[in-house]
Subunit: 327 residues, 2 copies
Amino acid sequence: MSKWMIAAATLLLLGSSVAADDPLPSWNDKTAKHAIVDFVTAVSSAENSDYVPPAERIAVFDNDGTLWAEQPLYFQLIFALDRVKVLATEHPEWANTQPFKAALENDLSAVLAGGHHALLELIMATHAGMTVGEFRAIAGDWLRTAKHPTTGRLYTDMVYQPMLELLAYLRANDFKTYITSGGGIELLRVFAEDVYGIPPHQVIGSSIKTQYEYRDGDPVLVRLPELNFIDDKDGKPVAINQHIGRRPIAAFGNSDGDLQMLQWTCAGDGIRLCVYVHHTDQEREWAYDRESHIGKLDKGLDQAHEDGWTVVDMKKDWNVIFSPQSN
Amino acid sequence: MSKWMIAAATLLLLGSSVAADDPLPSWNDKTAKHAIVDFVTAVSSAENSDYVPPAERIAVFDNDGTLWAEQPLYFQLIFALDRVKVLATEHPEWANTQPFKAALENDLSAVLAGGHHALLELIMATHAGMTVGEFRAIAGDWLRTAKHPTTGRLYTDMVYQPMLELLAYLRANDFKTYITSGGGIELLRVFAEDVYGIPPHQVIGSSIKTQYEYRDGDPVLVRLPELNFIDDKDGKPVAINQHIGRRPIAAFGNSDGDLQMLQWTCAGDGIRLCVYVHHTDQEREWAYDRESHIGKLDKGLDQAHEDGWTVVDMKKDWNVIFSPQSN
């Protein structure tokens, strides 16, 4: 049984009063949880003045740092670095070419010193040049086997149990749950349905261009080494409109990259819920915000306080951080 | 009650044996109808070897010429020409600038003589420069009032009754129905939910770029005069993968612009349904195929015959063409 199914089953089990009273058992009984439950109750109750029809109950979630961890490095970047090592035999020139040389030598600071351009080179060299089907198989193999450098868990075991419960709770109340991630749309789709219960058509992410080719009667979509769309910052509301065509009524993020998505969501008419997950737990996870290179939360924290958005303090609000391990 | 609701109600009415036996009353009892019903029955029956789980029951539909008419000109182009007339007071220079001059003089052949470039100029001048919300309001006003030049019907009354029944029939069998149109995604979304029962997140179309702006705390998406994506020909499988992330099991089109979408759909594993609507009824609609400038169906017709796809002969297969008029 997958993670989200277990969370969903919790809601349905036995009609027990515990489950009925507490759809979010990993959330402590504090302000953030109350804000979420009050919102969901209000929009789902036909007699409530804040009632929202199911078709408009759309919730959007950032992924990195919101649904799963993002330290010490975005997991997709770790995937790219791992792929460089696999592909190096076909590319002897990489031994002397940056940023590949640094990647092969596990010299992360040298990779990052190359900036945006270096990262893009790594992504294109590892994410393009195959069909969509081939890429999914490669990414799936990696997700089934690769382990996080500090916890030793599978990356899909680095997802937040409270957020799995939240996804299940929202869907049990007829919400459609979407991912809107700066990460790559195809990598996300490989695990989002199994791990989060979010089907491929509800995954929005960054993408490279693809090209249709009709190979001897066998059509394929080939991934090209060319950026298509960066689903981050200003791009998130743009992508939400492009994919969904409706303004969400709830949005969940953890960094300044999610700020525009939260602005766009909470500026809509009627009751809205904007939530920032604040990484405050150095013991059980990581603690970072305004000064972090990954998942920087600075302007967003200010606007959350000004506009009264909900800020989840991971240390205080969550009694469990990660989902149980798969194996 | 909207058109698609009436079609859906037909399926549910009274549990009558007529509705139960005939979900597609506007379709004559011939090969095309049998192919559709046999396919839907096979994929929906758990005991059938061709059974497909509901999550994978995805059907994609072209719009122009497949769900509504496209003669004498794509309706969106008529919208653009109408908008040129409305906006002309703000653009005195258009009186002497092509293609606007031709548009203002109703000289369609002169407009078309300008080719792709002229059409793009008309689209950008009429579809960009406002927010997404403003554009939807403008397009909605036009759809509620503008009349088709030869039939005098509202454009939303130029939809095919047999296709409305088909959409309802598929959804009654747990299909997700998507539009994948060369037309603009935002114009489609203005009417697709009411007329076809297809919600905004299941509409895929061509698009211009949009830009997020935070205007004094009020975020808007502004439509830019710059192409984003042309959802036609090779673009259709690309857009289907981008939006849906799964290969459809059924595809419906009417022109060579839909050929790649049908190829992509029918090359998948397992049972598939690819259907071309062939415009053969000069009396009740229009008759055109291999030589037409609009909705040209040439290579597609060849491949349909070679690969055994279903070809709907509108004259012989449909006992009704258009949906009842709204008013």
